[in-house]
């Protein structure tokens, strides 16, 4: 079998590094944060603006809770 040169080993090692898949632990962290973000965004989407209220001197106060 042909001896591998440093260039061959370099090329193969780079390929190996790229192909390392996501671990279960990494996936769990990403999925936990994703669920948290989805909850947060769902809450924000559900905020209903209050009706506009006339303030002092007729200036509108447009507020949200």
């Amino acid at each position: 079998m042909k001896n591998k040169s440093p260039f061959d080993r370099f090329s193969e090692e780079s390929e190996r590094i790229r192909k390392v898949p996501m671990s279960d632990e990494q996936a769990k962290k990403i999925n936990d944060l994703s669920r948290e973000l989805e909850r947060q965004e769902a809450e924000e989407d559900n905020l209903v603006p209050l009706p506009k209220i006339a303030g002092k001197n007729g200036v509108e106060i447009n507020s949200q809770i």
Partner: protein
């Protein structure tokens, strides 16, 4: 005037150099050579690997780079690894399940990239501005979005980029330096920034190319290896330049260059 040498003509070229006074002890590899070696889908990967094995390594010609190479290499792999990590995260088989809005954000940029791959035969690698757009979309979601982005970086980059750096170190291609006592014998004149500026100003070569050509001028090395036609034009346009070696089909892909070589 320097010469542009095809890979296929390198054996004859070295034979001529030997007849004139000996095979050069070393050469300078352009950063794009190192990057291409590390990434098999790159055009010229196989022929560059074969060339280095058969013509450079087999002749025991030592390889060097300029100081820019490590940062150019890591910058390419930063974008490559992040692109692959982000694209993996929206794949239907992915273990991760990002929020739909974030998936859409990545899909949008991934679609732009897919068009570029198809129409321009571009590398499947996001531009920096595309990664920034995606990152901005995560940061817009506040602390949780920021933390999620950090986890994606952790998966895509944290260990892998460090390993890429170690891989480059293990390759043992050092940057050319007059301060390295093992390299002193190669220097025939002082290597200065002013020298690189002069080369750049004379030919409007990119500055990384100018640094390679300046390093050649400062050492006894006769040629550099590159995958960039710009450096070939710079070599051909200046009477004091040394030579550059590159793949045949890279030369043939440019009418202007192939007419001059």
């Amino acid at each position: 005037m320097g010469k542009v040498i095809r890979f296929s003509k390198f054996s004859n070229y070295i034979k001529e150099l030997n007849e004139l006074g000996g095979c050069p002890a070393g050469t300078i590899l352009d950063a794009n050579v190192i990057i291409t070696l590390s990434y098999s889908p790159k055009k010229y990967h196989t022929r560059t690997l074969d060339f280095l094995n058969k013509e450079i390594y087999a002749r025991d010609i030592k390889c060097y780079t300029t100081v820019n190479t490590t940062s150019e290499y890591l910058e390419f792999h930063r974008r490559l690894l992040m692109t692959e990590g982000l694209r993996d995260s929206i794949d239907s088989d992915s273990k991760s399940n990002l929020p739909n809005k974030k998936k859409q954000l990545i899909r949008l940029q991934s679609g732009i990239l897919a068009n570029r791959e198809k129409n321009n035969k571009a590398d499947p690698v996001f531009f920096d501005r595309e990664i920034k757009k995606i990152r901005e979309g995560f940061y817009e979601s506040g602390v949780v979005g920021k933390n999620l982005w950090k986890e994606l970086c952790d998966f895509s980059l944290m260990k892998k980029l460090q390993e890429e750096y170690e891989n480059l170190e293990n390759l043992g291609v050092k940057y050319i330096s007059p301060n390295d006592k093992d390299q002193k014998e190669f220097f025939i004149k002082e290597m200065t920034w002013a020298g690189a500026v002069k080369i750049c100003a004379e030919t409007c070569a990119g500055f990384s190319d100018s640094m390679i050509l300046n390093a050649l001028e400062s050492t006894s090395f006769q040629f550099a290896v590159s995958l960039d036609s710009d450096i070939a034009f710079a070599v051909l346009s200046n009477s004091t330049m040394k030579d550059v070696v590159m793949p045949d089909d890279l030369i043939d892909s440019s009418e202007a260059l192939s007419a001059l070589v």
